[in-house]
Every structure is written in C-alpha cells, then in structure tokens.
Symmetry: C2
Subunit: 333 residues, 2 copies
C-alpha cells in the first residue's frame, strides 16, 4: 500500500507555484503503539494554509521544508493500536495532505456520517462552521437586530457566519465576488443583501443597504474592504478579524487599515479569533450546528475537487482566485 | 469687562497656523436664566482638539467656522442664575478658549482646590487622569503582573496611565521622546524602563526590555509605533486606542497598522475609548485618583503656558512638537 504525499519544497514568495511542492510516493506506514492509521478521504482547503507556509511567528509553528503539508482532513481508521479509535472508525483531524496518516490521536474526533456526509465534517460541522459560530457569537457577540456585514460571504466561513447571523435575527449583508455568489447568498442562504465587490463600489453599496451602519463586521478578506467597513461602524461595533485572504500572498507590506481610528470615534473593537481556542466547546457547538442542519435552517455547500492529493497545489490556488463557492474540499479516494 | 476669545477662522490642512485662528475681543456676556458665567483660569490643551477642528464625522460635532474653539477649562463662577452653581464656585467644564464663558451647567462640575490646585483638575483629576484610569482599567483590564507598554508616556495621559499601571502591580515601559522625558518617567514616576524613540530603535528596545512581549499596549501616538507594538503582542493582549497624535496633522492617507493581523495570531483586541462614556463613574474615579495623589502614589505634573488666550495657537502646537512633559495647560488669568 503506497502513500502519496504533498510536501513543502520551498517557501513561496507570493502565490505558491510548482516549485513550492514536492509530491512523493512512499509505502504507507504502520501505526506504532498508541497510534492509529487513517486512510484520508477528504482534505480541507483553507486560506490559513498560506500562513502556515511562512517562516514567521504565528499561532502554529511553520510547516518545515520537506514536511508533509499541514491540513485538516477526514478519513477512515485502517489500523489502530490506540485505545480510543478502532479500525473502521470515521475520524477528523490534522492529518496532512497525503493518502495515509499516522496519528497519536491528539485532535482526532470521530465523525458520524449519519448526521452529515464526510465533506460536511470539514465544512459547517468542521473548523469552518465552528469558526463562524464562535467568531460571530463569542467574539462578535451578535444579538437580535444587529446589522452584520460579512466579507468573503460566499466562502466557507462567511457563508456559515451569515446564516448563523440570520438565525440570530440579525440584518445580514454579504460581500462576495460575482453575480452567482451574490445570488446564492441572498436567494439560497437568506442574506438580506449582497454586494458584488467585482462590479460595485463597496462603500456606496454599504451606505445604501446599511444606512444605519454596522454593528458587527466579520472580516475574512482584509485590505481595502476592511477600511470600507471601518468607515461605517456604529457605536460599540465589533470587528471580528477571522482572516485576510486578500493579503496572504502579498509580497510587499501588507495593507494596514488606515481608518482604524474609527475604533476610537465609535468606541469599537477589533478582535482576532482562532477556532482552536474553543476546542472544549466544540461538541456542544457541533450539536447545535447539526441541529440547524437537520432542520434545514443551515445550508451546507461543499465544492469538491477530484483527482486526489496530486490536485492539491491547484486546488489551493482556487481559494486565492475566489474560484470556490462554499467550502472547498479535495477528494482523496 | 471684556472677553478675549479664540475662534476657528479656517480648517487647517496639516498643522494649524496663523490663518487658522481669529482672536476677538468683545464685552463679557451676562448669564441668562438658568445660566452661569465663568471667569476662566486655566485651559486644557489636548491633542484631541485637532480632531475637533476637522469637518468629519466623529464622536463630537466639528467646531464650526467662526465659533469659539472648544476646550475643557477650570475657572470661577462670577455670576449665576443657575440653581446649582453660585458666585465664587470653582468649576470645570467645556468652557472654550476664551476668558469668560456662559454655561447652562451641563457637564460642569465643582472642583475643590483643597484637594489639588486648579491645573491638576485639568490633569490627573480631570479628563486626562480619567482617560488613563478608564482606558487602562476598563478597556485594558490590567491585572497584576501584566506587561504594559505606553506610548506618549511623558504626555498627560501616558504619564498618568503608567503610574496607575505601576499601582496595579504591572511591569511598565514607556516610549517618550528625549532623555529628559525618559529620565522623568523612570526616576520620578517609577516606570520600569523607558524607550527614547528619538534616539533608539523602538522595536529592538521593546524586544530587550519586554522579552516576553506585551499584555497591554496603551496607544497615544499611532503610526509606526503602533505597528511596532503589534509585533510584540502576547496571547490575548489588549491594545487601547486612546489617541494617535502622530497622525492628527497628516495631510495624506493616515498610517494604517500593517501588522494588525497580530490581533488574529494572538487572539488580541484593539479597542477605542473615549472618557466621556464613563461620566457616571467620574466621581468614584476622581476620589480614587485624589486618594493616590494625597498618598504621593500618583505624581501630577502640569506644564503651564502663560500669556492668556492669545497664546493658545502657539501652545497647541507644543503638543504636536512633543514640547510638553506632563499636562500642558494654558493660564488665562
């Protein structure tokens, strides 16, 4: 049994390219004592991956040159010498971009395909949905009637965040690129309005559809869009810094929000969030998200790239090109 | 009895200059029913004044062209048809840059010269000390052992904030311009270390004197100094946006903090504050500040500019030149 792996060959400057990756085939390893082996089925594609590739101090150590690329994934246990997991179990964890992973069980959770298909466990029932959930509820502290603006609104986190905000009784506006994405979030997901940043002036449109300003801005993109949102903050507004996909491949100085003094004028806050901080509350949150999913109140959409781990380099670039709607997932087998 | 007044003649671009102001003399007015008249003794000089001069949406309406310049001040009631205030009372309030003010009593408070001299009621017992107090304690939520960095540390708010942080058992580092200011905050005020931004590399020095990073950054200056602080945030750090004096006279795009994603990496927050939000708690805070002052735990320093309201234009520029140490106050009579 062989194991195809995608390893980081070189740290990219700007967008990753063919020199960034090394695809290797080796025999699939056997689990040692206390370990399990997972046959990976689906790999999560996340904008945060770009940060993990940089040699910079961050919330997680950089992926080392020559190491298997870090990735969250779901798969099936094919061998176990671990007390908790048994052959046949379906599990999620930080398994990396490869076909077979060895794990000591840390950060591994069982997933139930009876609740939702495997890719959804990378989407609204995975890190994506949990990021939206804790970002919006814990950091954003949304309450009924709040005016919520979301960037990257047709992306994985943004589309979940918008739906959760609607469930909480908020007025929700999403910023997305292109008519199809804008149609999807308003028609299918129930956003109150969409702004197409590719064809519309975002500031003018925010002013139009949120005439009383913004209580909560959930930011996935950074850059000038963040500045635009800052211009419309209401008193005591909360800005959730979840990501900044527009800046991850910047080769020059990243874009700093020149309107940050809007925080002072409006006694507002801008707070960074990372879903792993809420790990102790994942089970309860997943139960609530799964409930909404079952009731049809939360729509899960995954865009699945086929072709196995060899497709990873290209699939990752889709995120930065804005080519995905909903959660982008790589199918391994 | 004549009344010399400083009126806003034109909105400055960049630093205010002689064309910004119009100094007029008119008869001192008489209070109407429910009003009082105050002979102003000392006027508070605040960096925030620069913002009040711009025609932009902010927390307070802009000073109108032709209007008396807005200013906080202390003085003595010389005539009263107001039920609360009597002739002879010493009071503080938003009396403007003039010799005599008419007030309806809103925002006016009696001050007790037995507790501290009048200029101190514009300093550590006034908006300055209260800003430091609520910024550090309520927004910054400092607790014992926190590593606190303060910019504009020899200024009015910064010098008070640093002392309060020391009273709370924090490790406190101040950034100030020049050896005298640095000596003052370390020798007299008890800061643990000072960084002279005029002669030292701020980033290198922060790294040196705060090797474990920053829990709380109290920002009065903005600009690249804010960026430097962001680079050293610890997990769950709090950045208090109190001011941005380096940017108030910028004629181009203001400097946006390019390292704001440090908020994400460190799950930190950046929050704007305005002292007026805490008005209901002023009496209790002033009592605590006055207690520290009486015990010698809090040192009040005012730098008093003489020459009356005619000196206002020049005195205001001292703030932006960093010419003051402690609270800058204009003596009127």
């Amino acid at each position: 049994m062989s194991n195809l792996q995608v390893r980081l060959a070189a740290r990219p400057v700007g967008l990753p390219d063919s020199s960034t990756w090394q695809i290797e085939e080796s025999p699939a390893p056997e689990p040692g004592d206390g370990e399990l082996r997972v046959a990976i089925r689906y790999i999560s594609l996340d904008p945060a991956m770009r940060g993990w590739m940089n040699d910079a101090r961050s919330y997680a150590p950089p992926v080392q040159i020559g190491a298997v690329m870090r990735a969250f994934a779901v798969g099936q246990v094919t061998a176990s010498r671990h007390p908790v997991f048994q052959e046949g179990d379906l599990v999620s964890g930080m398994f990396g971009v490869q076909e077979h992973a060895i794990s000591d069980g840390r950060g591994v959770a069982k997933v139930d395909p009876g609740i939702a298909p495997l890719p959804t466990w990378l989407g609204v029932l995975g890190g994506t949905g949990l990021t939206a959930y804790f970002g919006l509820l814990d950091v954003g502290k949304v309450t009924e009637g709040d005016r919520v603006l979301i960037s990257g609104a047709a992306g994985a986190v943004g589309s979940a965040a918008g739906q959760i905000a609607k469930l909480k009784g908020c007025h929700v506006v999403g910023i997305a690129g292109g008519k199809d994405k804008c149609d999807w979030i308003t028609r299918d997901l129930g956003f109150d309005a969409a702004i197409d940043y590719k064809s519309e002036n975002v500031g003018e449109r925010v002013h139009q559809v949120m005439p009383d300003g913004i209580d909560v801005y959930f930011d996935n993109v950074g850059g000038p869009t963040l500045d635009t949102a800052l211009a419309f903050l209401r008193l005591h507004a909360r800005v959730i810094i979840c990501g900044a996909i527009s800046q991850y491949n910047a080769t020059g100085q990243p874009y700093g929000p020149t309107r940050y003094l809007s925080l002072l004028i409006n006694r507002a806050s801008m707070t960074g969030m990372l879903v792993s901080d809420y790990a102790a509350r994942f089970p309860a949150a997943i139960a609530e998200l799964a409930g909404w999913l079952a009731e049809g109140k939360l729509i899960a959409r995954e865009q699945i790239v086929k072709g196995g781990v060899r497709q990873f380099p290209e699939a990752l670039l889709m995120l930065f090109a804005g080519a995905n709607t909903g959660k982008l997932v790589l199918e391994v087998s």
